[in-house]
Amino acid sequence: MKKYSVFAVAREAMRHHSGWPRAWRDAQPKRRYDVIIVGAGGHGLATAYYLGKNFGVTNVAVLEKGWLGGGNTGRNTTIIRSNYLQDPSAAIYEKSRSLYETLSQDLNYNVMFSPRGVIMLAQTEHEVRGYKRTAHANALQGVSTEFIGPERVKQLVPIINLDGPRYPVLGGLWQARGGTARHDAVAWGYARACSDMGMDIIQKCEVTGVRQTGGKVTGVSTTRGDIDCDKLGLVVAGHSGQLAGMAGFRLPIESVALQALVSEPIKPCMDVVVMANTVHGYMSQSDKGEMVIGGGTDGYNNYTQRGSFHHIEETVRALVETFPMISRLKMLRQWGGIVDVTGDRSPILSKTPVEGIFINAGWGTGGFKAIPGSGWGFAELMAKGHSPLTQAFGLERFAEGRFIDESVAAGVAH
């Protein structure tokens, strides 16, 4: 792998950028791998990367039915924060956020991590109490957050309207080291590093069946033939139920559409990320100047990557009240992704009823921020059979009633 550096840029500038090699090999499937990961989204690729980096497991294939990062990883609004309420969540999300701080250096790939700060607005008395509670919990967890009053919110976000008629801004939960990153770059950077370790990233290769003997996995069937493996990681977000079905078990997951939209680019006007969970709207400004807006999920099961228009309408209507200046903005693009939502709004990183099969799913509306931490913990789980980071996120928690309830805390969990 050629190292990316300022010298490389200078050298290539001299020769019309003719010398950049492919960032990752276009691999053909082999007959057998030690580990197969299904799904080349951020979580699948990060898992492969840390399997190699932390555990020396490099005979690995990542199988992707479409293209690299074409699932939710390339469709999300890239908010990164770790101010969750429950201890297991704070641990894995903060691990993730801290890995993001140095990810560009680790991968030698600019993922454009921008720790510009994230505010979660408190717009009802209930939210004020809720976020104060989260701030106290975060203090105990060692996650740096603070509850701020409306004046401070206004200082940080000059374009905000504090006294909207329906939802006044009463304060906010502020995480100064939260922010955003470039979503595609996260997938591409991990893919490049995995490929460099000798792993095969195989696109346009859909897994159509899971083969097992005597309760133990032996391999997968794909649109490009059968491939054997010792261990199988299912990391397919919205399609988790389908893959689990192939392997013969069910999941506490439902797949629904979540949408986002961007405006025409405008001059810089908001340099933090603002989330308004009561009204299911959140917004940040991209480096290109577009306002990036996300909303709430649809209520019904859906695999079409298309959501209902009225959700966008509701989100924008609420945001216009809080940010009056966006009322004149034209919206350029709108899209949807299929997110995997669990009963307690927390992910599942777990062994499964089939020996050798592991699942990493249920990140729902908020898993982009978790990509490095989830890959770190899930790789450990797959390599060693247990991981302190993933321990609380096992499938058995639903039978045991030991939930990691983030739905009450966050409402929406982006």
């Binding site: 399609h239 139920g241 389908q242 079905g245 069910r250 999941l251 506490p252 997951i253 439902e254 797949s255 649809d298 209520g299 019904y300 099961n301 859906n302 695999y303 079409t304 298309r306 209902s308 228009f309 009225h310 669990t342 009963g343 639903f398 039978a399 045991e400």
Partner: protein, 111 residues
């Protein structure tokens, strides 16, 4: 945007008038159920990419619950039917099989 017809009051309206209530035909587990049964009833879902039998409520209309057969891969609606039943009626099954000849309701045998 889904357009649904309520089988109770026969009004046809946009989805904003309705509320989705998740998978239909779950067996309710009561006191004495095992942990596994409760887990299955409360959390485990089919979540199919394809035909989904589900509960809806006509919240901003007659207020009644009903069942709907819908395709999650295409958003096609096969039809709505009464909530007072534990299995999809024949006309719904026929509508589904017109498009998916291999589809079977739980335990239904090939004819």
């Amino acid at each position: 945007m889904l357009i649904l017809t309520c089988p109770c009051c026969h009004v046809t309206a946009e989805e904003t008038e309705f509320h989705a209530g998740g998978e239909a035909h779950l067996t309710r587990i009561g006191p004495g159920g095992s942990e596994g049964e409760f887990e299955s009833y409360l959390f485990m879902r089919q979540n199919p990419k394809g035909v989904h039998l589900e509960r809806w409520r006509h919240v901003y209309g007659c207020g009644k619950w009903f069942h709907l057969a819908r395709d999650t891969a295409t958003l096609h609606v096969y039809g709505a039917y009464s909530a007072q039943t534990t299995a999809p009626p024949d006309h719904i099954r026929t509508a589904i099989k017109d498009r998916h000849p291999d589809w079977r309701w739980q335990g239904e045998v090939n004819q």
